[in-house]
Symmetry: C2
């Protein structure tokens, strides 16, 4: 394994949920955002909202970034060039989420190199309408994810990841042996158990319906936790589709056949 | 602006489309992938495919990564825990693209810190079926983007980005003044023109229909180029929806109301 200061910074990553009283300077914020902007992009169709209101921010953190897919900005540019956006929203969303996430990860890494910790909040997509009201977002701007940042007041260990044999596949996707699945599960579960991760967070997810609880914090770990999320929660895409629609995104519309403006 | 080795690495980013004959060692590949894996994630629902077949890879590059959204792996894990995935595919796609892109950007930055250049290929989403055949992907694995890597045989300048005033908004999304739009356009257009970017690539996009060409490579630049893409191409989402469907993703299905397996 090759190590240099950049790779060390990347490998040291962990989510931070406690922050000191120190406020990052404007220069620090600008450095982090400019590092974000230098990420590769398809269309640069993102915007960053910033709140420095500690009272409102999660964990009273000094910085809360809300990372948005922004089609509004480019539509304004196109209007100046006498063009109208015609590409379908699904394509723009698939490419836009990538643009926005590449930027976000640069911010995480740059922040860490300057001593700041961070934590993503993935719930923004379900609260898009509320966030849009807070920040007065125009239509065609969709809040994708939030990123909390500040100086860490905790120093948790780095969390486990899948083994390489369960992540990287050369030339052909494998038919997994049962043992490969088991090893991947074991690496995640034993790793989180060794850190007492779910016990400390008291994060066990209750079972719906007729399933009977058989786990204690001695054996409840990552694969069971994620299984309970993906196996019990949110079967219906309509909540998300509605949030997208309210922000002016229509994933199934052919924009030539139905050319009326979505706004 | 704060500068350190990590931020310098991030700010130095540019896409590389010419590569030397040198092949990155296994250790280099492993270091890049492990740096990728350490990115934050919601569900780690990605996989990486690797081709070292220079003859097949774009620009005969030594490494071609194909970054996939992978629900298959977690469904295998859930089956071992006697769970069935029930969360809607749209949510998994919105979160999965983030997981995969955060990982990808770590790979780009780690690679660059080790002397490797890279370039994303965004066309994978439209060629998903073909890529799935090549790598024998099971259903529920969707190729999101490809990342070409190798040692650079060119040293282009870094490309322009929007001004900060067009990217970062504190407390409230602004009503843009016309001048703000113009400054953002000017920064992008004059930046690319100064580098002769489109002239060197001979990349002018032809005009469809009745529009008359009025641009030469003296004034054709980024905002006109992207306007022609977003204003002329791909109005119909059905091509993408079909690629997703063929890979076993259904963005509008309520998995409880229609619980039959998609495979």
């Amino acid at each position: 394994m090759k190590i240099n200061p950049t790779i060390k910074t990347i490998l040291d990553h962990k989510s931070i949920r406690k922050y000191t009283e120190e406020n990052p300077s404007d220069e620090i914020v600008e450095s982090i955002v400019k590092a974000g902007q230098q990420a590769p992009f398809a269309y640069q169709c993102y915007s960053l909202l910033l709140s420095r209101n500690r009272k409102r921010n999660p964990w009273n953190a000094p910085l809360l970034f809300t990372i948005c897919i922004d089609l509004h900005k480019f539509e304004r540019i196109m209007a100046k060039r006498q063009w109208k956006l015609i590409i379908n929203d699904l394509a723009l969303l698939l490419l836009g989420i990538q643009d926005a996430s590449l930027m976000a990860e640069n911010m995480v890494v740059a922040g860490r190199s300057l001593g700041l910790g961070s934590c993503f909040l993935g719930s923004a997509i379900w609260r898009a309408e509320k966030i849009a009201e807070e920040y007065k977002l125009p239509k065609r701007v969709f809040p994708l994810v939030q990123l909390v940042m500040g100086y860490p007041a905790e120093n948790p260990p780095t969390r486990p990841r899948y083994p390489l044999e369960f992540t990287l596949f050369e030339e052909e996707y494998p038919k997994f042996e049962k043992e490969t699945i088991s090893r991947a599960m074991h690496q995640m579960d034993s790793g989180y158990l060794a850190q007492n991760y779910y016990r400390k967070l008291k994060a066990k997810i209750p079972l719906d319906g007729t399933r009977k609880e058989t786990f204690t914090y001695d054996d409840y770990s990552w694969t069971e936790h994620i299984s309970r999320k993906l196996g019990q929660w949110d079967p219906d895409p309509n909540n998300l589709l509605e949030q997208l629609t309210k922000r002016g995104f229509d994933l199934t519309r052919n924009r030539l056949k139905n050319p009326e403006d979505s706004e």
